[in-house]
Point group: C2
Chain length 504, copies 2
């Protein structure tokens, strides 16, 4: 094992010294990532309290290293040449500015309030009892408003934008609001039409289980491998909530298996594999530097969705997959026909739960949350009034009211864990995925022909060059501009939806 | 998740502040323990390099926190009342003195040399080619001598004793040498006699596999549970080299399964469960304090061996186990008779490999290493002369010479990873296990009757009170004195061997 920093020759410039400092912070972040994964995938319940201490201690040390006075001195003195180094230094300053904007006591109070609220939320959701979590959520919102104000003062951004920036740098409410408004208009017409077209088509034939879990596991490993995951640098395990964790050289994805359903684990693994490929493809020679990280949560979601929604649910790949599933699980042949898989896995259905939503209605779930969280942070909406506002907004968007708060404002962990400004990333990612897929199809000949053979390499090769390998050199809009010739343009997503759901 | 240190009310005394500082260092140690476990049990090979950085960074930060100037000031100022707190403060001073004795450059050079040597050793052992590792091992020894000198200067101990102290505080070569000399004399007579007695008994009937791995796993989980491991705070997984890792609230043991052998995994799990119970039973209200840790490596080994060697291989438990194995795996009934299991699993056999040795000859392997490592650290033995000295010493102890260095001085990782002064712990632990078992049998009525029903509770309850719950309040000798009425007394071990191997 080698030690973190060379001791013989001290780095000679302020920028080189900063790189060493940031690498150390990033290495602590790696340790945290592995411990988070373990907590979700491996840890026995009795380890939870100690794990909380470990993660808090590592987070505290990282914060101390980031806000240390010497860091400000070095950042003031440093200069960097070349595009990557210049971007890296800017990202260092950005991280430092955000970290120093928040007083330690506020950071700590926020962590405590989030943890307390999350715990109570689990009970409240199970009991569909908003009143139980309301005072905790009110405290979380109060502290998020303080955080937003402090970050706003330091960055010059509006308070809610300052929170958004923590998830996707360079994107604010003003970028998102008109896109979401246009989508709402589009959906009002598109949804009934999609439902009508779907109703005229033959009903899908259900895949008949049981699907033995060992066979599903083998299939999921095989498919993740086909998409491009190298298991010398990755694991696939199980957890209650599927996720992609770990670090670029050792990425850990999880899923959940049930004997009754094949789609849940399989499509989930394809989604997480998209995230994993992004991490694996980050520029290795900028590892542990801010510029070597992924370009934000919307960019990340674009990579999971381009695999899961764009490529894996394409006619081309469903043709390949159907054959493979029929081989592996047998049963009725007609059920595995690509047209039937398309009817099953590209089905539009209004529902109350975001994570179960199809790609046409999913943005409505996000739009609702985006508006409500802006109002909560802006102070126009009181936490006590959240259930009513939720139900009203949901009805306006999807034409039906949730029967209870468990299927309404209690369904997501995000707010109850202090994450405000995150939700837009899901839909920005879906839109970027469509835009990138369209550009990839134009740039890479034979992309769909390859997918029809179960070969993702033409697509992922292009993504590696245009997205993964770019790290955080470019912001979200510039990344899209360099890859597709234009900033985020929702019309590619709408064209994709039009092809898939609105064409007879 | 709560943060590590309370921020509102600062601890009011130097000792209280030290407790907070040491808890933080211990929490970093917990993170390292989990990452070590993951590296052995879960990590894909591609994660190794990053993991090395993570562990080195955490070790570096821990060291910085321990040697920080403020630590010396607080230690100088602190006072503690009560037995536990006084012991804790002394252990803090001890840890600080050892850490500050070693210059950072030496710590780093040692870590690098150990890592380099360990890597080359794996190839050298596979090829049975000592020459390949010799220069690397020479560098490791050179640096260990420097470490020993620095620790000696700071502690007043002799250099080799200063290394030993890192594994078992309070035990030096002068404590061990006469015990080992006496054992050598004992063995010269006992070994041929045991072999002769054994030869007169019926030959053991081999257990006939294959033993399906899933059934072995279920059995190992059941047996670990019977011994007292609570899987709400523990996991049992697989790794190449079985070990006990993790932390007291989340202990992680591993084993290795092969279809051909039942004993390897099962007895290994019983051994690691002994270690695990020690960790689980450490005093929770001194968690993350030096006094709350296990009392050293010899004490730790006593707890694995009292379960594996003393209790699990007792006539009483073998009777229970035989029935359980016959149920689980079927086959020839006579093979599972307790007398036959005893013949199989209490068999004396001269061999070249320490880890495969029976409990009678095992100390000979340790005695050889103890003498050689003293000579290496003392400078009386050059690394180039190690294979010859090994083979000569081995022949003198066990009457046969290793056919090659892979079965000689290349077999163990310890020296090649910089661990000098560790080996005596194995035999001190075996002796302590016998002494504790004798005391437990005297103190706890019905201990063997319980084992005969597969019930370890009477034994482990006594161990929890007398050993586990004592943490590091007492040194090795005082711990034994309090538990058994006398310091380490090898005659209990010899009496045990006499009963088991030397009585017709």
């Amino acid at each position: 094992m080698s030690t973190a920093a060379p001791s013989t020759a001290a780095p000679s410039t302020a920028y080189e010294r900063l790189k060493t400092r940031f690498a150390r912070i990033a290495t602590l972040g790696e340790a945290q990532a592995m411990l988070h994964w373990d907590a979700a995938a491996m840890m026995p319940p009795g380890g939870a309290e100690s794990r909380g201490e470990q993660l808090a201690t590592l987070a505290g040390l990282s914060h101390e290293l980031l806000v240390a006075p010497v860091m400000a001195e070095e950042l003031a003195a440093a200069t960097a040449e070349g595009e990557w180094d210049a971007a890296n230094l800017e990202l260092m300053r950005h991280a430092h500015a955000r970290a120093t904007a928040l007083p330690g006591a506020l950071v700590e109070a926020t962590a405590r309030a989030n943890a307390a609220c999350e715990t109570v939320w689990r009970e409240a959701r199970a009991a569909s009892d908003f009143a139980r979590v309301q005072p905790y959520l009110a405290e979380v919102v109060r502290l998020q408003r303080e955080n937003a104000a402090a970050l706003s003062a330091a960055t010059g951004l509006a308070p809610y934008d300052a929170l958004m920036e923590g998830y996707q740098r360079g994107i604010g409410a003003a970028d998102v609001a008109p896109i979401f408004a246009a989508y709402e208009t589009f959906l009002a017409e598109a949804l009934p039409r999609a439902e009508e077209i779907q109703a005229r088509r033959p009903a899908p034939i259900a895949l008949r289980g049981p699907f033995p879990v060992p066979a599903q596991k083998a299939l999921c490993h095989e498919m993740a491998g086909r998409v491009g995951l190298d298991f010398a640098h990755a694991r696939l395990d199980e957890s209650l909530h599927p996720f992609c964790g770990g670090i670029p050289t050792d990425v850990r994805i999880t899923t959940r298996y049930t004997e009754e359903s094949l789609a849940q684990a399989l499509l989930g693994v394809l989604h997480e594999t998209g995230h994993a490929l992004y991490e694996r493809g980050l520029p290795a020679h900028h590892a542990r530097q801010p510029v070597g990280e992924a370009a934000g949560m919307a960019a990340h979601e674009s990579q999971s969705l381009i695999i899961e929604m764009q490529a894996a649910r394409s006619d081309a790949f469903l043709g390949f997959l159907g054959g493979r599933l029929a081989e592996g699980f047998g049963g009725e042949t007609a059920a595995y026909a690509p047209e039937n898989l398309a009817r099953l896995w590209r089905r539009v259905e209004r529902g109350f739960i975001r994570v179960d939503a199809d790609e046409l209605t999913y943005p409505a779930h996000v739009i609702l949350r985006f508006r409500l969280e802006q109002a909560l942070i802006g102070g126009e909406l009181a936490v006590a009034d959240l259930p009513g506002a939720w139900n009203e907004g949901f009805s306006r968007l999807l034409g039906m009211g949730p029967p209870d708060d468990a299927r309404g404002c209690l369904q997501d962990i995000h707010w109850h864990d202090g994450a405000f400004g995150y939700f837009p990333s899901y839909t920005l990612g879906a839109m970027a995925a469509a835009q990138l897929m369209r550009a990839a199809r134009a740039a890479v000949p034979g992309l769909d022909e390859a997918l029809a053979k179960g070969d993702f390499a033409p697509l992922t090769g292009w993504l590696r060059e245009k997205v993964h390998g770019q790290g955080s050199r470019l912001g979200f809009q510039d990344l899209l501009r360099a890859a597709t010739g234009k900033p985020l343009d929702p019309s590619d997503f709408m064209a994709h939806l039009n092809d898939r759901y609105l064409t007879d």
